[in-house]
Structures are given as C-alpha cells and as structure tokens.
C-alpha cells in the first residue's frame, strides 16, 4: 500500500538547533520503529523532514513545500513558537493538521482549528518553581533570561505569574543567546536584595551563568528552566552546577519514578532506544516529537488518514501517556497538559535527582 506521508519541520540547524536536532532524531526513530513493527494499519509512514533554521521565512517556504509538493496529511513541528506562528495561516488555509513542538502559549490560545501542540507551556514550568519558592518563603527574586524566543516567553511568564505567589521580581536582566560571559549581570544581581536567582535559557548560557555565580560568590539558591534539563548541562557547568533546581519533564528522572507512574514505561523505552541509536541522551525536547508522532499514530489508527479525519481524532485524544505528560485534548484545549507534566529536579553529586515535595 502507499505510505502515509507525514511532514516534519524542525530547526535542525540555526540557533534553535538544540531543539530541532533531538526532535528530528526522535521523530525519525519513532517512525522507523513503527514501520518496523508493521506500520500504520499495514501502511508504512513516510516522514518528510525539512530544516527551517529557526527562520520564519524558511519555515514558510518549507511548510508550503510539504503541502503543495509532498502533499502530506499532517505536519509535526516547527521547533519554535515564532516559526509556528509564521506558518499557522498557511496551515489553517490548507486545512492540514499541525502538531507544533514549540511551547508558546499563543500557539493554542486562542484555539485554532488545525493546530495542536505537545510542548509543555512555560507557564506550567514557572508555576512549579514559584510554588516551591513560596514554600521556602522566598519573596524577592532576580531573573536572568536569554533574549530569544525561549527566554522571552519564560520572562513574560515569570513576571506575570509572580504576583499570584506574592513574589516580587526585583531584578530583571537578560543576556544574548551567544553571550559567553554574564558576570556583569550576576554582579548587578549580587548587589540587589534578591533571595533567589531564576535563570531561563538553554545550553550553554545557563552553564556560564552557573559558573559566573560561583566565581562571584553569589550564595542565593539558583533555579533554572527545563531548557537545560539534560546531562549535558551538568557536564558544562561542572561543580558550579551543584544544587541547582529546575522543573523538568519526567524523562530526565525516569528511573526514579514510582512504578505506578503511567508514563514510566514509555519514558524508559524512549531513553534506552535513543541512547542506543544516537549514542547520546534523549531529552524532553526530543520527547515533543515522540509525542507528536505517537499522537498522530493514535489518531490515524482510530480513524482515517485524511487530514480532516486526523484532526477530528486528534481533538478527541484522551489520557495519552507521552513523554511530556498525559495528554487530554478537547475542542477548547489543543495543548492538553497540566502542570503535573513537570517535576522538580536537582543536581546532586553530578546527577539529576527528583526533589521530594
């Protein structure tokens, strides 16, 4: 039978390649696994992947090509919120379901008929951190965010949610995605009254921040985002990483989860297979692609493989245990996760461990 054509857009190169690379790898891996075990209703999946380089213009061109030239039935990706927003008009017009792997809230709020997403909202990660800060009676924080899509959306959430937890952001600093030294910002924060520092970014920036914090002898607790929840971070930060806390998808601490956890089986399998195939650790960014492919698989198995049928079935997905969490889509919710999707983890003796709450 003809294969089912699925399109994928990832920023495999360019600044957001830290997202696109594991996503591409994972998607390819999952599709190969599905095909090996008999495919979708006996048909193979053909995955057409294009690199968007983190550039909205390229995303636009690639999406058009997937629709017009490759005639795919559904698209997964892109990796970043900006690129996703850039192609939504095309998607809506072409009436092809899209499962974005980006985190921005505005992708699915307001709900767009053809657009879903698998990445956990930053809002949920921020909520996790603030909950713990509140427990620790910390009320003044400094934030240091990277000035790219990831950081600015984190910053927006950090500032807007603070008052819900009676927390005051008393120092609001940023750094560039390619900056190699943040001592100036950390020095400034050291001079403030902040009781904790929250750094929002992706490798390698936060590792530099951790080192600068240590160098400057800043003694307040250091929190980071799920953007660095990987072994790589520990490797880069070295001993400066000790004690850093951050919200993470469960994939980072799969082994520590109770057996009752519905996600555990999938998580462990994912980590194992990824490690086997790519010789490096699979992370929760890759997980977004895993979820996207598996959601599509479920939808097609339950229904038909026309774009419209896929969309309708996606919307009815319930209690799907993915890497990112348990998904429940509905006509009002195309994001499908709650804040349980995150757990807090901490670096202890160069290892990630689950923080007991």
């Amino acid at each position: 039978a003809e294969p089912v054509k699925i399109g994928a857009l990832f920023s495999i190169t360019g600044p957001p390649s830290f997202l696109g690379e594991p996503e591409r790898n994972t998607a390819q891996m999952v599709v190969d696994e599905i095909n090996k075990s008999g495919g979708l209703k006996g048909r193979k999946i053909e995955l057409v992947i294009y690199d968007t380089q983190g550039d909205p213009t390229k995303a636009n061109q690639a999406a058009t090509r997937l629709i017009k030239d490759d005639k795919v039935v559904a698209i997964i990706g892109p990796s970043t919120t900006g690129e996703t927003m850039a192609i939504i008009p095309i998607i809506e017009k072409a009436k092809i379901p899209l499962i974005s792997c980006a985190a921005g809230v505005k992708i699915t709020e307001p709900v767009k008929k053809w657009v879903f997403k698998t990445a956990q909202n930053d809002a949920l990660a921020v909520a996790r951190i603030y909950e713990q800060l509140k427990k620790r009676r910390i009320s003044k924080v400094a934030i240091l965010t990277v000035s790219d899509g990831f950081g600015s959306s984190g910053r927006e959430q950090l500032i807007s949610q603070a008052k819900n937890y009676n927390i005051q952001v008393i120092s609001d600093e940023t750094y560039g995605p390619k900056d190699t030294d943040m001592t100036a910002q950390v020095t400034k924060i050291r001079g403030s009254q902040a009781q904790a520092l929250i750094c929002w970014g992706t490798n390698p920036g936060p590792a530099v921040v951790a080192r600068n914090v240590k160098q400057l002898g800043l003694k307040i607790p250091l929190y980071m985002s799920h953007g660095v929840s990987s072994k790589k971070f520990i490797e880069l930060a070295g001993d400066a990483g000790e004690g850093i806390i951050l919200p993470s998808g469960r994939v980072l601490v799969a082994n520590f989860l109770p057996n009752s956890d519905p996600q555990k089986k999938a998580l462990i399998a994912y980590v194992k297979n990824y490690q086997k195939r790519y010789k490096t650790e699979g992370d929760h960014f890759g997980g977004h692609a895993w979820d996207a492919v598996m959601l599509l698989k479920g939808a097609i198995e339950r229904g038909d493989d026309t774009p419209a049928a896929i969309r309708d079935q996606l919307e009815q997905t319930k209690s799907f245990s993915g890497i990112g969490g348990i998904f429940n889509f509905s006509t009002q919710d195309h994001a499908g996760l709650t804040k349980d999707a995150f757990v807090l983890v901490e670096v202890k003796k160069n290892k990630w461990i689950l923080v007991k709450e």
Partner: protein, 318 residues
C-alpha cells in the same frame, strides 16, 4: 539599436517572463519561493544602488527591511491603519531615519563604514527583540493583515506573486533608469574617485546620503510587503546574517548590474531549496558553492553570462 532601446527590449522580455512564470508553476511550491525571490530581488537591487554604484558598503540593510516590516505590522495591528497607508508610512519613516543617520554614517569610509552599518543593524535588531510590548519580542508578531485592492485580497500564492513582482519590476525599472542617468554616472564616479567627483561639482556627501535613503526606502517597502504577505514577522528574519546574505546576493549577482541582482537573489533563494536533498550536508555544499561561484565568476553571475555570450559569439564568427 541604441543602448536605451536595448534596455527597453530587455526589460520587456524580462517582465513578460516574470508575468507568465506563475502559469507554468501553477500549484507548485516554487511559486511561493518566487514570491520571496521577488522580495529579495527588491532588496538586492536596493543594496546594489548603494554598493554596486556608489561603492558604499552596508552590512545593516536587514535593519531597514525589518523596520519597514515592523512599522507596517505595528501600525496595522495596533492602530488599525489601512495596510496601504501603513506601507507608505513605513517607507517614509525609514526614509527619514536613513536620511538622518546617513549624514554621519556616510562620512565614514571602507571598513569603518562596514562597522558602523553593522552596528546600526545590531542596534535595530536588539530593539526588535527587546521592545516586547511593541514587537512581540523574539517570538514575533502575528496577525498582520493582507493587502487588498478592491475585491482582490492578496492572500494566496498567486496574488502575492503578482503583488510582489509588480513592485519588484518597478524597482528594477526605476533603478535601470537611474543607473543610466546623470545621477547614476555621478554615483559611479564617486565609486572610482571621490575627490575627482567632488571637483567635477558632484555634491558627494549629499548624493551618498540621497542614494542611501532611496536604498533604505526601497528596503522598507520590501519589508512592508513581506509583513503583509507573510502576516507574521520575527526578528530572526532581520539579523546580521540576512544583511550579509544580501551583500552576498549583490556580489554573486554582479556589482552594479540590476539584472545581476535578480540572478543573485534568485540563486541564493533557490539554492537552499535544491540543497534540501542533501540533508545535513546542505550547509557545507552551500558554502562550497559560494566559493566556487566566486572563483569562477569573480565578476558575478552576470559577468559570467556576458563572458559566456561573448564566447558563443566568437564561436559563431569563427
């Protein structure tokens, strides 16, 4: 046949080719790529006026492109401007900005000029990123309305194609005219010897600023068109990389040649699409091709074409 008659024939032929291309590409994704080729051609031609004719480098032209896009975007989404009005406003604003910064910037020469324009580009890029309340910051701004003309709404590939290319052709036509006029000659004179140009009565400073302004204004127009056809913009499209890519288009195409700029823009926009089949190797091949093209056609593609045509002619004669 005089030179100006030849110009008219070439332009007409080119225009016709542009007009029938969509009919050949109906339903093909390349039609969309050609929309971007149009935008990039406009930008490359604009930069060529400055770089190819007046010999003044700009490593910050993406900033003008971006300013055009953002001004259009902000005026239409926040202040409910009519898109056409927003476009005019964007072009005028950017023209004024360019005129004002042009005086101090164009006093600089050579690598100082490169650095100053680069700095300007970076400053503007940072502003796009940091003024989140206005621009939406790094994750961009969506919901920019399409342009429309009476009953026609420019929201499909086909309509966008014609919209963009009408502007692009107009830009090319005006630039060809300019190149063959007293202003064009004065610009090339500046390129060759600034002192001699001044002594011949060319107000070098003013003329440089004027052409800088025109160049920025066209870029802003391209930016507006981009914003209204994409309906989404983000800073990533207007960074240093894109400025460099524009310079590359102009040089690969051929300095001082309007049609060369089209070739440069077309090649550099199409190339990544063709290289997709190489997957991860595409970047390496892209870099390699840039080098190879420059080595074999140091005068740009247009120079290469001319040499080829001359060679064929000689063959015929022999």
């Amino acid at each position: 046949m005089t030179k100006s008659q030849r110009d008219i024939i070439i332009f007409t032929a080119f225009g016709l080719a542009v007009m029938i291309t969509p009919l050949l590409l109906r339903g093909n994704y390349l039609l969309n790529v050609f929309v971007f080729i149009g935008i990039n051609t406009m930008l490359a031609v604009a930069l060529n006026l400055l770089l190819g004719f007046a010999g003044q480098i700009s490593l910050g032209h993406a900033a003008f492109f971006g300013l055009g896009a953002y001004i259009s975007g902000i005026l239409t989404t926040r202040y409910a401007f009519d898109p056409w009005m927003a476009m005019v406003a964007a072009a005028l604003c950017v023209g004024v900005i360019a005129f004002i910064i042009g005086f101090p910037i164009l006093k600089l020469k050579g690598h100082y000029l490169a650095m100053a324009t680069l700095g300007f580009g970076i400053i503007v890029y940072i502003i796009f990123n940091e003024t989140v309340d206005w621009t939406g910051g790094p994750s961009g701004m969506s919901g920019i309305p399409n342009l429309s003309l009476g009953p026609i709404i420019f929201d499909s590939y086909m309509t966008n194609y014609y919209l963009i290319w009408v502007f692009t052709l107009l830009t090319m036509l005006l630039s060809v005219n300019l190149a063959n006029s007293r202003i064009g000659r004065a610009l090339r004179a500046i390129h060759d010897s600034e002192v001699a140009a001044r002594v011949m009565g060319v107000n070098v400073r003013l003329l440089k600023v004027q052409i800088f302004t025109v160049s920025a204004l066209i870029s802003a127009l391209a930016g507006s068109l981009y914003a209204h056809t994409m309906t989404f913009i983000a800073p990533a499209s207007f960074g240093f990389n894109f400025s460099v890519e524009l310079v590359t288009m102009v040089i690969i195409g051929g300095l001082g040649s309007i049609y060369g700029s089209f070739l440069g823009a077309a090649i550099l926009t199409l190339l990544p699409e063709f290289l997709r089949v190489f997957h991860d190797f595409d970047i390496v091949i892209y870099g390699l091709l840039l080098i190879v093209m420059t080595i074999f056609m140091p005068g740009g593609l247009i120079g290469g074409f001319e040499a080829l045509a001359a060679a064929i002619n000689r063959r015929k004669e022999a």
